[in-house]
Amino acid sequence: MSTVTTPDRGTESNVVRQARVAGIRDFQTPTLEAVERRRWQLLIFAGLVMLGLAGGMMMLTIDRSSIDFVEEYLPLPVLRVLFIGLASIIGLYLLDKEVRLKKLTRNLVDERVLSAALNNRLKEISILSEVGKAVNQILELDDVLRMILRSSLDLLGAEEGSVMLLEEGTDDLVVACAEAGNRDIEGAVTKMGRGVSGWVAKNREPILISGRAPSEFFSDLEDTQRSIISAVSVPLIGEGNLYGVLNVNDMSGSREFTEYDLRAVGMFAEHAAIAIRNAKAFERERQTILHMEEVDRMKTDFIATISHELRTPLTSIIGCAKTIRARHEALSVPQRNEFLEMIERQGERLLQLIERVLSASKIESGVAVFKRVPVDLVAVAQEVVQGFKGAGISNPLSVDSPGIVIAYADEPAVAQVLSNLIENARKYSDSEAPIKVKITDAPGESMIEVIDRGFGISSEALGTIFDRFHQIDQSTTRKAGGVGLGLYIVKNLVEGCGGRISVESEEGKGSVFRIIFPKRQD
């Protein structure tokens, strides 16, 4: 940036003094127009004087009698000397004024240039301070990018440009924000090292292209980039990290960028990089907070559900016990037994609920330890199914297997997984719908499938059913009971044994839960 001095208003400036001497009356603010006006004044004055002299001379030449008349008072040689003298004085006077005016004009033009430069500087500073504000304000990343692009275009007086961001962990440069006439290039991807932007990103150096891009330098330029006539491209580097590339182009040929432009954009790029870094950090923080809020909401829901799930069996237990005590005499023996059985069943239900919550918290705290020993999946499945049949499940239950299927797993965990899945299948099916456990043997892996013909799971819900506290929706939950821990526990048990679980389901048709256990110990 060239140095600029502001005019000193306290003492009379050079220009003002020159204007006064040149005869410009309104010399407090001399302008080029005033100079021009003064020049005209002098020209007219000179013209009038010349006209007068010429008139006098003519009269003397044409009219003899006038010469005689003049000669009576002035001898002719004296008159001639007078004429020449007068013309010379006026001529010199005009020459002097003209020289002064010339000088003044030059100074005024200089001053105009200086003030234009000053204006440019002011504009640049205000743009830089805008970006400085953006850095401190923390805006949305999109807003920050748009502002960076807009400001850099304003700064260079250009029409087209783009901000490319480096995707974290890759070498992809993605156009995040662009002004490119009618072309929609946002989202376009360039690899690090490819094209002008790729070169700038790779070498972390700004580049100025004046005239067509040299093809021997950028052998892999695309056609749209080849049509660029002048461009400035700078890396966005903040605290040693590369965030992307800022490009300003001119395709029309109306503007050719200079070293000066490159330097201005370079200064600007530093602020821009920091603004991008802050916006990204802000975005990350916000994501974290959103996630924490979601977890908090799930916890609140979980507590509400759990308290409801605890109160329901407790209501029956307390109610039954009170009834037995208060109406001991009036109740018949079978009636009394019915109440006692109810208390027992509801007590077991409570116990099961508490065990679920405990095993979920065990898994979470990492206390749960899984053995990896050979287990016959068929034997475990048959035992679990027998248990359900003994408890009087209404759905037809079957095990489909080739005899013995061995996998490396933790036996109690496999049993719990199966019983949770069968319990789920029962909850989400009509009471007569069949449930099948299918076990298949494959090289290296063993597979268990729990297949039901129940209500199925909607495709939106499929993605989240293994999440903690997740329940498909309140109404089905209420019918089925539970607190949304079953499948979360199942998934963690399976993974604890080195296996994996997946689910396929269609609404109204039923679901298939597929578990694969490894046959190796690792």
Binding site: H308, T312, S316, I318, G319, M342, Q474
Partner: protein, 138 residues
Amino acid sequence: MARILVVDDEPAILQMLKMNLEMEGYEAILAGDGETAIKRIEFEQPDIVLLDIMMPALDGWQVLQRLQEMSLSKPPKVLVVTAKGGEHDVSKVFELGAVDYIAKPFDVEDLLERVKKVLARTEIETEERRRQLIREWM
């Protein structure tokens, strides 16, 4: 003999309340969900409904709303029995026309006492209404 409809999605609670109500000499009818409850209210005209809030499909709130829309000639008195228990819920219950609110887990004897009170109040109201009608008629 007063007829009482118990609405709850929990079979154990239905059974326990039915036995208790019958022993008190009421006629107890049951509904496991909101839809059945609406039908039974419409066709069997119970005097009192013991209504659970958290139920699948049609929940207790919706049942109360439907009841208000139905404009029955002799609407039943509704006692809400629920494990939900925020203050907001309590006020909402009365706004929707219920006469009492009982929190789960409840005391059976307390519940029976409240049922008795509601029935007595209903009887007084009916008696007054009858007298008023007679007066108007004369």
